[in-house]
Symmetry: D2
Subunit: 135 residues, 4 copies
């Protein structure tokens, strides 16, 4: 199991007329956290695409407990519970600067061959990079 | 049970570097469908806010079956299965112009008093407006 | 000179914590208007891309006179003042449902070969399609 | 004159089907830079709003020289050339990680009383906070 924490500052653009962060932005925060998590392992989602693999989203589940507001400094705690196979699932918890859990969500992605646009398995080099963290 | 269909044209802005609609946009399509559904019943979400009620999102669950692309003409079939109480849950199915189901999702919203920012029940006038459709 | 009018309903997602449409959304409204204008001429921006031409944005100038709000029904009046050459410039005026001019802006785009990613001239067939409107 | 530099990592969500950052996102990068510039002076846009002042955008002018891509680490160089009066104008230059100037833009904002929603002058305390940097 791998867990990392990433900080994100709420942008004005992300707020809505309720004065809070619009609910559609949380998936973007999750995505930023995935990007930064992969970077820490010495690779990147950009590298995956360059190596011919894309990762479309298959499923998103989110629960909202408390609003976030403009300029809040959020912490996204992201967890990869299992080694990727044909799919890869991330868990995300978002905390505000008071340490309150405001949102929780799960994203399941597929691996897809960039040329054929068909589903494929996670590249071997990628699985080997993550494997040491699962012992 | 109430079901309505709304059409949405995919904007270039909603695509991403995979050449498909970014997964964060589907909640916005759902939101457009909710807005138009309420309008058909002779009210609007805007009216609800003017009457002192806001509707923050509590939960979102989405599944992606097939990508949408720029300029696709999508049909969002939105269903309200139960009369609102303290919560209101909408089901959404999105079809492309070939009639393929490409996405399916559920959004649960709460009713909140705009002044006190506390949870409340659906306004009586609002429930009465929808009630005839549940007989 | 070609002028067309397109209607756009403001989405909740497009509002911000000031309770008005966030200023970044107007370029997206312009883009929707460009898409619909081209469709009226029997082609589409999608067709242009399929024919190997992309149109990156070179310049945007916008002035904001009055705010737009959630659920406003906006009219975008879009004008193409000159036949495209290596560039294509659109003028946009946005009116709210009271007929007030709330925003005005200009977007200049380039033509780019999709393969080489180099600047090119507007395709001949495309210029011929628009030419009759400039006599 | 005040100049500061802020770094922004391009999000996947900000790319479009051309494989580059969609042109509407640059105003958001400018906005992030304004937020961080104010923070450095010991205040924040959030504080301004709490003190009863909002800053709607009056004018945006942008020029695009070169595309940005997913995961690029951009540097926004933001400049405030004059002390604010009833208006406040920021200049922005965006560089990619190779040091290439890819975008340049100007944003003019107004000061508005949050209650009355009428134009006002910059708060005295705010001007005094910035004044030392203009000597």
């Amino acid at each position: 199991m791998i867990t990392r924490e990433i900080q994100i500052r709420v942008r004005y653009k992300e707020t809505d007329a309720m004065g809070i962060v619009h609910h559609s932005n949380y998936v973007n925060y999750y995505e930023v956290a995935r990007t930064e998590m992969l970077r820490e392992f010495g690779t990147s989602y950009k590298t995956l695409e360059e190596e011919g693999v894309m990762m479309p989203v298959l499923e998103v589940n989110m629960r909202y407990f408390s609003p976030a507001r403009y300029d809040d400094l959020l912490t996204v705690r992201i967890t990869l519970a299992e080694l990727p196979t044909a799919r890869m699932t991330f868990e995300h918890e978002i905390y505000n600067q008071e340490g309150t859990l405001i949102n929780k969500g799960q994203v399941m992605l597929a691996f897809m061959n960039r040329e054929t646009r068909r589903a494929c398995r996670a590249p071997k080099w990628f699985v080997e990079l993550l494997a040491p963290y699962f012992h």
